[in-house]
Amino acid sequence: MNLASYTARRAALGLVQVLAVVTLVFVLVQALPGDAAVALAGDNPDPARIAQIRAAMGLDRPVLERFVEWLAGLPRLDFGVSLVSGRPVSEFLFGAIGPTAVLATLTLVLLLPISVMAGVLAALREGSLLDRALTSISVALHSIPEFALAVVLIAVFGVQLAWLPPTAVGADLLSQPAVLVLPLVVLLARPICSISRLVRAGMVDALASDYVRHARRLGLGETRIRFAHALPNALAPAVQQVARTTDWLLGGVIVVEAVFVIPGLGTVLVDAVAGRDLPVVQGLAVVFAVSTVAVNLVADLVAFRLAPRTEVVA
């Protein structure tokens, strides 16, 4: 299969996933609960108020009609109107996307070189002290919840030692890089562990493979063998894991924004959930789901380019 037809098939799958996820989100938010309007009315379930919310949400119209309308609005970035403030949901999204994008981009940019370097170093000195230390650390740190790690780091470096600002309240992220250090460390901790382990395993396999032995027999330089021949093959599974980490990353961003008080999409989501502002929750869910599917798509394409034998695995 060549890259073009792989891309076409993978993109078709991605489209189906997006559609399915968007439908799922709609069904979850609109159809499944007993009645969203009753839940929204909250402490004073006054019939008049419920009817009012119902009309505002369009709940008195048939489900299918609402779904089609909502779906048609999505490509135009029309996610509906917030129940609490009455502002369009897209306004919330555009207002908050900056800090989240900064965090996510910086994490991904830093993640790759660091974890590839750690994995390659461990693989080249397989069995050495460095290798064992890196492996132990990555096993141990792999599953710590971000908020626990974040709070411990804040207590040590932000409060006790006072080296770094404990929160990002009122700070501009890009002009004050110091506020970004702790959030990024927290976001990087888990993915680095899992990806460097994969790179290490792939590199160990590749270095022991027939084609590397053949390349050595041909007299190629060791550097060229390692980085031009072994590394791309070792990277393919790691790139796909990078995509899986976006799942963590999105979850992590929500938590990290809450801990460090960064006004991004995660904060908007948590606030919307607390305020039961369902259209905003719905819009954010679509944005998060679509970006996850998109990142997975790109990662699969990169992995295919690196080692063109992977099948379309949904």
Binding site: V21, F147, I254, V255, V270
Partner: protein
């Protein structure tokens, strides 16, 4: 050897606190001002003794994670086995394709979304964490059962006229056990992670609950006054997840070698 020691120690302390701690919480709790230096760790954001909260607060995290993991196996293993052993390819597709969609949604998002709609409650938390873990368990058991279903041994058993119970349940089940056990550690840490993160975000638990993750969230305001009220529960959660990981990783190595 050394690593198992550390892992074991890391797991025992929070587990013991979580399971036995509630027994040592006094019936009568006095309340004083928030974040005062009283008792072992000071007082929390509403003036309760933080040490008593630590004692009482591990139970939910541990039990919800265990229950959700168990349930995801109860639901996921038969699901995967049915998909693998069915003769109709269509059934397999119908069972497995929807899971691909679930896997494409960030798990914490599913959790927040469902909890936002169905309201707080520990059972909701158990249900959602089960739901998030379920596709992985189902896929894994399907893959394991597929491999086993093609074995010559099973073919021979079928030709000998062994009952469906013997071939499909007893033999297949026993052969899958090792694969599933190897995966248990990953599932358990994933469940712990989700439960703790959800509680921290205030999903599924009341805002003043005695719960380590809730304590971390609520007492953050007193980080400068009583840092221990935040750091101790956070460290307990860290110890628990690191410990579970190390212990299962070591057990896995021993099985393999």
């Amino acid at each position: 050897m050394k690593r198992a020691g550390i892992g074991g120690l890391l797991i025992v302390v929070p587990l013991a606190l979580a399971l036995l701690g509630p027994l040592f919480v006094p019936e009568q709790q006095t309340r004083s001002a928030p974040f005062m230096p009283q008792g072992l760790l000071g007082t929390d954001f509403v003036g309760r003794d933080a040490w008593h909260q630590v004692l009482a607060g591990g139970q939910t995290v541990v039990l919800v994670a265990l229950l959700a993991t168990a349930l995801s196996y109860v639901a996921g293993v038969p699901y995967g086995v049915v998909a693998a052993t069915t003769r109709l390819r269509l059934v397999d597709e119908v069972l497995m394709r929807p899971l691909d969609v679930l896997l494409a949604v960030p798990s914490l998002l599913v959790l927040i979304l469902v909890a936002a709609i169905s309201g707080p409650g520990l059972l909701v938390l158990v249900g959602v964490v089960t739901l998030v873990n379920f596709p992985d368990v189902a896929r894994l058991s399907r893959a394991a059962a597929l491999e086993i279903a093609g074995r010559p041994a099973l073919e021979a058993m079928r030709m000998q006229g062994e009952s469906w119970w013997q071939t499909s349940i007893v033999y297949t089940g026993r052969s899958m056990l090792r694969t599933l056990a190897a995966d248990l550690g990953v599932r358990l840490t994933a469940a712990l992670y989700l439960v703790a993160s959800a509680s921290f975000l205030g999903v599924g638990v009341p805002p003043d609950a005695a719960d380590w993750a809730v304590m971390v969230d609520r007492n953050r305001g007193g980080l400068f006054l009583q840092p221990l009220t935040v750091v101790v529960p956070a460290l307990l959660i860290v110890a628990l997840s690191v410990g579970v990981n190390l212990v299962f990783d070591r057990a896995l190595r021993q099985v393999r070698t």
